[in-house]
Subunit: 592 residues, 2 copies
Amino acid sequence: MAPLVNQQDLEFLLNDVFSAEALTKFPRYADYDQEAFTSVLDTARRIAETHFLPHNAKADAHEPQFDGAKVTTIPEVKTAWQHYADSGLLSARHGYDEGGMQLPALISMACNAYFMAANPATAAYPFLTSAAANVIHAFGSEAQKQRFLEPMFSGRFAGTMALTEPDVGSSLGDLTTKAVAHGDGSYRLKGQKMYISGGDQDITENIVHLVLARIEGAPTGVKGISMFIVPKLLVDEQGNCTSENDVKLAGLLHKMGYRGTTSTVLSFGEQDACVGYLVGEAGKGLSYMFKMMNEARVGVGLGAAMIGYRGYLESLAYAKDRPQGRSIANRDPASKPVAIIQHADVKRMLLQQKAYVEGSLALCLLAARLVDEHEAGDNADSGILLDLLTPVVKSYPSFYGPRANDLAIQVLGGAGYIREYPVEQCFRDNRLNPIHEGTHGIQGLDLLGRKLWQHEGKGLKLLLERIQITLHAAAKAPELQEVVALYQSALKPFMTTTVELGQALLGNKAEGTLANASVYLDIMGKYVVGWLWIEMVEKALLNAEHLSQEFVQGKLQAARYFMRWELPEAELHLKRLQAADDTFMATEPEWL
Amino acid sequence: MAPLVNQQDLEFLLNDVFSAEALTKFPRYADYDQEAFTSVLDTARRIAETHFLPHNAKADAHEPQFDGAKVTTIPEVKTAWQHYADSGLLSARHGYDEGGMQLPALISMACNAYFMAANPATAAYPFLTSAAANVIHAFGSEAQKQRFLEPMFSGRFAGTMALTEPDVGSSLGDLTTKAVAHGDGSYRLKGQKMYISGGDQDITENIVHLVLARIEGAPTGVKGISMFIVPKLLVDEQGNCTSENDVKLAGLLHKMGYRGTTSTVLSFGEQDACVGYLVGEAGKGLSYMFKMMNEARVGVGLGAAMIGYRGYLESLAYAKDRPQGRSIANRDPASKPVAIIQHADVKRMLLQQKAYVEGSLALCLLAARLVDEHEAGDNADSGILLDLLTPVVKSYPSFYGPRANDLAIQVLGGAGYIREYPVEQCFRDNRLNPIHEGTHGIQGLDLLGRKLWQHEGKGLKLLLERIQITLHAAAKAPELQEVVALYQSALKPFMTTTVELGQALLGNKAEGTLANASVYLDIMGKYVVGWLWIEMVEKALLNAEHLSQEFVQGKLQAARYFMRWELPEAELHLKRLQAADDTFMATEPEWL
């Protein structure tokens, strides 16, 4: 069994690339030091290895069952939940005054990386709970916090987000779940929600659903959407669960991957008795949900990165261990076969995986670093940059993580596609990530249609500044000349084309420009991750004395691969966008 | 439920592109006419729709079980087998004198296309049986034919190919299964084989394994390999099954897809009593197996193409039916949502699928057409071209078919990754195809290291001649100017680089050149399929009067997509090969 993550890589990213220790200069994190961070990470890794990893395949093979009355999950999931909850990680990022660990986002993200690599399906329960709790924390009333937040932080209650409806999908403005004021401050909800992860389970005493619904008489579209707390069991003021709320599990959905996480269809108010509590102001539901959603999107990116990472390490271990074939030059059939990692094509598939997954992990940790700078460091610019990058952090790992898993299978050959080896499950698990929490198409529209131009394009300016700093530093290293030159020459068309696309969006070419939005999303991902690869090598060379030589060379080779093989694809795409390629727009549905 | 294949497309390919009727000029096919072909195709489609499609998902959900003594498959598989056998398709290609249908390969391939789209896992049993029977037909003794061939053609016995061993994988020269002469003309075999598809089942009375083994004292390497017929049950001279042979099922492997096909580990000779019969001459086993293997490789290509095709049609039907969202320009939330096929990004994902799967089907039918020209038409050139193209026919659909299935899932969004919809299974089924019967890596080495240079490079010359004929004809159509110009300008670097690679292989750069063989394989696939796209549009324009206008426009738009988006990727790869990119070769295993 390969390790969950390359420990040297994770430590390098935290310490040498994202300067974890520097975070302790922020007053909020002043109590921490490097040792304390390490101790938290060790705890997370130990729980992931001991209580999440061992049942990863079992939870996949024995997915949750629904007998019409009750959902049953394998008992290991509850045990894992309990250990996670006991560690305090459910409220890791919250303040000491709230019983939290006041942990930086960067360290919290690194902890989550272990769980995502070990068992993404079981990890989904605590991660969704943390995200839902954060919304109540940010927008709920004091009474709501008292009643729901403490039991969520302690692990008694789990949380979900209930947005999607069967006929509506991602077009949230069309959702029809209704809420009627009951006169006592509460509401009665009626409607159906679908694809609700963790929407029912037998792990926790209660489940807190955050439901988007439309208050009677609210306007159509997104402005009429409000958010409600809808507990599975009603809760009295002392926090005790009293009786069942009118929330019914209509059925489970059977997924390709993440099988251990229930995916549910929920009926609210079949008996007209579904009690819900309005969160914050009416009509602001979607903006509240986006706090959770943005966090969830980064979480999806991390999941995709780590499932990809696990597949990489498993296929790497296999390739080093498996003898088969001989070198091209060796024609002696009596000679001993070599390990398949000696074959150039296997090296290709491993190097490509490395470039994708280590780049993706770096991207997710960058997002966490920006959260810290923004929140604890009170740096507005970091918040703007994070906003710009969120669709990329969601999408790049979701696109290239599965590609990595595909290559991992290919490295193993026949062993790759049988369930007797772990990479098969990685491939299935990761296939959900390009879809849930917003498809590439949606992320592309968000990026090209909105995020790039917010704050007068400041996000992009900030990104380019950071890139220039990296290029400037990297230019000093002779080993990096080729890498820097390739990136630098590719950067110009990226900038000019982006500006041109912005102008086209203002004119009457908006529709044609946005038609290629998901292509632009892919381009942006390659430039951002390409930058991070240069940043990584530059820091690896700088810190070479405490890193292994192989590690430094590996980073350098992956960066070379990225600039020679990945970036040119982005340049090719840019040419198409610059030429306003209309192949897809001009395709009539009847032609298909 | 979408159709298995676009009927207009299949008929167009058979009639307008590959001139099925012209085959009736060959004496062997003189009894056929267009109507007779249609009648055979209708029968195949009806059996596929009635007896294969309905249990496709069920056989996936209820995979074969092994209780330690016996394998159980769901009963529908046996029924499907029986209907297939009764139709005569098991010996479709064989002569009337042998009870066959004397059907052209082109029509046989088109029949198979229905089965592969309907249920690739169940279709594997008859397809493997036909392939094994063909080997016995070609190389077996008269006595062997009498004893084994008739029951295989009639459906009493199934067939398998047993090559791979646990410690050997694709490196067949290292296989260790032993055969000892028994004195009575038969042999006793001993060894273990793995990943044997259909290696055990409860569908047929008996199973005929074609086993590669090494006769005691044979040289090491591939020259010491012989082929043996090893029946599961021993068969007397009257063709009756008498007693069990010493072939034991050690276990089933649990695959990601094709779950309905058993994948087995077989132990031969645990009791030292495994009877086998030498096929043909000793030491020629591998060359015999390659007859079957080449056929199986084209079959894998077809399977990949048709699983991709089915996913395309399913996602197309969903996209036309599913309302969600509005056009970019429409900001009125009260307006009705449009079908998602109206969104440019969905059109992109559908057009891309169309380009991959219709191109892949055309490629497989081309291979069949070459078989007919070669065998019935006695045209040696066609055989040489088929030989060159076989790795491409195996690999292009295996690479791009799964890509199409990935896009099909993406079109469906959340519905795409749940087993309640069919595209999820397509994606899993298709993931086997880039591996079994030789990975891309192996196909790449076969193409660049061998096939290109056989017969003094005649295969490539023949290919280029055909391409030039197409380009010449297409240049007359004004609609095709852009498409032809793009292809033409891309063709030059393909030719020059290929020649350069050939020279490099002769010198001391062989290892470095072959290091990028799988990249070259991808390039070649794009050029060949790109050519077929031009051929298709040219023929569609020519036959526009009996085709729907939408069909012709669709072909044209897919060809435009191919030249604008796919071919440039191949040109980019060519530049890397021309520059002798050594990124992968130069990567040290320790860096990974």
